[in-house]
Symmetry: C2
């Protein structure tokens, strides 16, 4: 019962299983254009074609005053996933999502650090609105007159809901049009992979990025930072990256980007000293340029009409503005050996009505307005800094607080001030739908159980970090559980070959390294809607426990599953209740799963280093794992300098298992020696 | 440092101290046009002229893309009041207010049940954006590049604020223009009075509207309602109005507007029976028309594109749609003797992303869109139902959950589901800036102290109501404090002559009957910013205590003040700390204040009834009170059938006080006999 003003528009195929249609007259620069996105055509071809997943005649556009509405059908009961880094729910069906960047995503409105107008249905296709404008998506939360729906009386019927069943998605653009892209399935994972590949493929962090991170407190000096890092070594806790928080600059709010000479008199020497101890240095910064910054005057002609905390908001869509910041960062940070950034505060909150960003009506020299710039500022900062390192043939990995469409290849991980463990896990699940990575960073804890449970989760995430900027905590801050925290930080290091390979797959075929259960092929019903458990790589199912729990329900997909630690078998296809002491996070391995582990080194090894490899196999089915490797630091892998090592387990008729290694070629990476095999899950129970 | 695209526009005087300027090309129908607002010219003339309060050259307009920005200067330190029914703060300086109707105003964004784009500065002028579109007002919360401001470093300076000092208000219109009106002072009260008079003057409720109200539980039958009302009489608690909640209709969510024959088999007989016992009947309803309603088919051609809970959203800007609803209401409710309505659910929330209203992109037959209709729906319902009663020469008084610009003459009081006592008091203060009335209704309480403190506040508000729709509470629900609750419900009834006169003044000269301290002439600094105390009429200062307090600080304006109960004198001009037992809410009377009281009758008297009058005078200064009276029920007062009785107290050189009554003429109202005088506050301490 839509009332289209226009006949259905034609859909243009852009790649196998990817189509585009421009509705009306788009406004502004869409993110994929702004980023200069180059689809990974080889990856998309490898994925293969698929039929257009919707009836084009049912996709209509209508102009209503200054709004444009694109309406798409939605099958009864089909869940709606995605829409960016959502914290409050996973299935958005029946909800209206207001996709505006906002640093304080407490409420269930859709606003978030990374509001991506891309949804994936449970039935297995994706819809992207390629616009930098704020989009409101009514996910079957509106009912048109004449549309068949169920009318209940709230006063007499307990099943009354404020949103009755509806049959369509209404995308509301405040602009006169936008490009819409459709990504075919057949499964939600296929749609997500097409999206990631269309955006250029997933990012591959440097190997050290998957080690453990620690952020030192605000206002620390070089000596204090070094002492805190040394303590990791003395106590034997692995750590690869130390992050500096506000106070390393001459001015931080707004930001100068210049080392404070009283705290960091010799930055290159400091970075070199840290490197010698096996630490990379990551720098916190944000986008608003202090009047005290040397580059302030140069940036002024390229800045927006409004200041933030008195700092400039440069228009980084302009090459001139980028060049100024990049030159400064190159000279003062990159040349000094810094490994990357934490890009804060690019997602200003409006929930309290105060001013954490320029307003939507600000003007920028490129002609863009504040609304558009707010939506893409995080993307611009990510791309600019990533490019900077790429020009030096160095991979970076960092943190960012705002992102959007097209971020899949950008080596940045989102974080938030929202510090709710359950919401963190949900966000980790949801991030996988939209080419985003999320870190459920640990900052502090009310008590030891909370501390442990958070540490366990973060060690199974894209970026395992203790952020002590305000709390001053350390992994051993709760002495009574120090051994448990050590176990998980060590496990993080041991899982490095596994996780690095998962990221290589993200890069190569768009499969998110950490992903929601809905992205497991065949997942449906409650399993697809699960928001408190997730897959880490292909073989591990992680079901975090929260501080108030000692047992929980886990939805195991069909097939046998094995406890990661004990090898105990669990029958899948239903919910199991598991009890675990504080010492253990429930992690399950699929039948035939292979998990390569290396020793818990103090920091990640470098290319050419020799490390032992323990290969674990679980269960009764044969298995295969493609262990990825390269130099871990540069982009040489893109030029072919990489290799895949095949780890295979055969199972004979008597159930005996045998492992084998095949390295069919390639160059770069670690020397794995010795390789040992551990077989868990007897399958005899 | 504004960058106007256009030269400053000319300001057209509309009335003494009121100017208009049309910026750009307004869109939609502004509320004052929609309401057909007729300014009270006589009242405005009586208020007299005043110079234009701003430098017109500093008021600029700029088009930025599809937004229009109107920029006005704001003096350093000048607070910004108003902007509708705000719950979280009183001074909006430094904040961005997003003035969108929203039923869940928990956050400090500006969204609320009644988002009025009208602000009043502490320096004493008002600015109204006369538009039905959503307006965002940056109240000195944005700083333009080049604008002088103070740059601090958050990392080194504890006084850092996310919003540095700014010098202007930026009004952001999503439409290509709007009419802006300026209301001169010289004081904030003058600006508010001009606004109210320009909107047609304040409302004068029927006398019974100022009695005590009780709402019975949902799904009650006629017999249950009558029994609950009888209990008020048996226990001797005054009560004038009984409100029916969902369940009196055949269908309520969506709404049929038709009496449920199983619960109310004979509505006229039920209303007559209630009337015989001295009760008026008020009906809960909302705007979304059930398919079960007889008028559904007739309204369908006039309804919006989207349904709400399966109900129609009629376009009540159309005379045809109004006529259908009005005829139904007239036949089924007004003819049956019903006194008025509680108009619920016209302010749909979006905070949880669910659908409590039609979306902003809905289309309506009049050509209006959902955004505009959302913003004015509450206004339309108020006007339609008020007109219905006016055609019968009956005044109504009721409740509504959404309102907007121009509501001053509409006999409706706002309420909210937000149940925080402190926020209730703040909203009561803030409502006075924008021609709104608010009831801090009592529903339930955690314990007796909370119950009492809420009851004390509501008895000093525009509508004193116990809303037991869900809780089933009664005034005697906490037996241990029943005597205190009785005292205050009785006091409400005793104060009726005082409050009725305050409303007459609202009607006549635009002075809000309950008002924020900032509207006290000469109020400034902390006193003007106070949000937990307010004036009730001209003479009473109410400083509610909250359940967790037994003492509090009260900011007394200069001069002497007297405790309402004991007459104890307090020196004003500073903060005093007062301690009160649960039995007492701190209420102070200004020096020379006169408070007329009548007996605590079971219900309000009718015209021609004879009631005793106790006139209290406080302090050392002579006083005068204009006691207003009329028939209390009809609009005859507009045709001259009203009178003012002058109550005067003279003080001789020895400090002796003498009261006198003068009734210079007029007709209608009560017979006050006997009139006794009580003099409190010796002034000898």
């Amino acid at each position: 019962m839509a009332h289209p003003d226009m006949p259905p528009a034609p859909w243009t195929p852009l790649a196998p299983g990817v189509w585009s249609c421009t509705f009306g007259s788009p406004e502004g620069t869409p993110p994929l254009t702004l980023l200069g996105t180059t689809p990974d055509r080889a990856g998309l071809e490898a994925l293969g074609g698929a039929p257009f997943p919707l009836d084009p005649a049912q996709i209509t556009m209508q102009a209503v005053g200054r709004r444009t509405i694109v309406r798409l059908p939605l099958e009864a009961g089909d869940p709606v996933f995605g829409l960016g880094l959502q914290f409050v729910r996973t299935n958005h069906r029946g909800r209206t999502r207001h996709l505006r960047v906002n640093s304080d995503p407490k409420e269930d409105t859709g606003e978030t650090h990374a509001p991506v107008p891309f949804y994936i249905t449970g039935s297995g296709y994706g819809v992207l609105v390629n616009t930098a404008r704020i989009v409101t998506i009514h996910c079957a939360s509106t009912v048109r007159r004449g549309e068949s729906t169920q009318v209940r009386d709230r006063n007499r019927d307990r099943d009354w809901k404020s949103t009755p069943p509806a049959s369509g998605v209404e995308i509301v653009l405040s602009a006169p049009g936008a490009e819409v892209l459709v990504f075919a399935g057949p499964t939600p994972l296929h749609a997500v992979r097409r999206y990631n590949l269309f955006c250029g493929g997933g990012c591959l962090p440097p190997r050290w990025g998957l080690g453990f991170w620690h952020r030192t407190p605000t206002r620390f000096t070089d000596e204090e930072v070094a002492a805190e890092a040394d303590e990791y070594r003395r106590r034997g806790f692995p750590c690869d990256v130390v992050g500096l928080e506000p106070g390393w600059h001459t001015a931080s709010y707004p930001c100068s980007y210049e080392w404070a000479p009283d705290r960091f008199p010799d930055p290159p020497a400091f970075v070199a000293r840290m490197a010698a101890a096996g630490f990379r240095v990551n720098l916190w910064e944000h986008a608003w340029v202090s009047p005290r910054a040397a580059i302030h005057a140069a940036l002024e002609p390229y800045a927006g009409s409004h200041t933030v905390w008195g700092g400039l908001a440069p228009d980084y869509t302009l090459p001139e503005a980028r060049a100024i910041l990049e030159a400064q960062h190159e000279e003062h940070h990159v040349a000094a050996g810094v490994s990357g950034y934490k890009l804060d505060e690019c997602d200003g909150s409006e929930l309290t009505g105060s001013s954490w960003m320029f307003p939507a009506h600000a003007e920028f020299p490129s002609g863009r307005d504040g609304e558009e710039m707010r939506q893409v500022y995080g993307l611009l900062l990510q791309q600019m800094t990533a490019d900077l390192f790429r020009r030096h043939d160095r991979r970076t990995y960092g943190l960012v607080r705002a992102s959007s469409t097209g971020a899949s290849p950008l080596p940045y991980v989102l974080y938030t001030d929202l510090y709710d463990h359950r919401r963190f896990v949900r966000a980790l699940c949801n991030s996988s739908f939209c080419g985003l990575l999320f870190s459920p960073e640990v900052r502090s804890a009310k008590e030891a159980a909370d501390w442990v449970r958070r540490m366990q989760t973060v060690c199974f995430s894209p970026l395992a970090m203790l952020n002590a900027w305000s709390s001053g905590t350390k992994p051993w801050s709760f002495p009574e559980v120090e051994h448990i925290v050590r176990k998980y930080i060590e496990l993080r290091m041991r899982l490095l070959p596994y996780f690095y390979s998962a990221f290589a797959r993200y890069r190569e075929d768009g499969t998110p390294p950490f992903r929601a259960m809905a992205l497991l092929p065949g997942s449906s019903g409650d399993l697809a809607l699960a928001d408190d458990q997730y897959m880490a790589g292909d073989d591990l199912l992680v079901a975090p426990l929260f501080a108030d729990q000692s047992e929980r329900k886990v939805l195991l997909p069909p097939g046998d599953w094995y406890d990661f630690e004990s090898g105990e078998r669990f029958a899948g296809g239903s919910a199991v209740t598991v009890t675990r002491p504080l010492e253990s996070i429930p992690v399950f391995v699929r039948d035939g799963g292979i998990v390569p582990l290396m020793p818990p080194l103090p920091h990640t090894p470098r290319a050419g280093d020799t490390v032992a490899l323990e290969v674990r196999h679980y269960g009764r089915r044969p298995g295969r794992f493609r262990l990825y490797d390269d130099d871990g630091e540069t982009f040489a892998f893109e030029r072919g300098a990489r290799r895949f090592i095949d780890l295979q387990v055969e199972v004979d008729a008597a159930g005996r298992r045998q492992g084998g290694v095949a390295a069919p070629g390639g160059v770069g990476g670690l020397n794995y020696d010795p390789v040992t095999w551990t077989f868990l899950g007897t399958g005899m129970d």
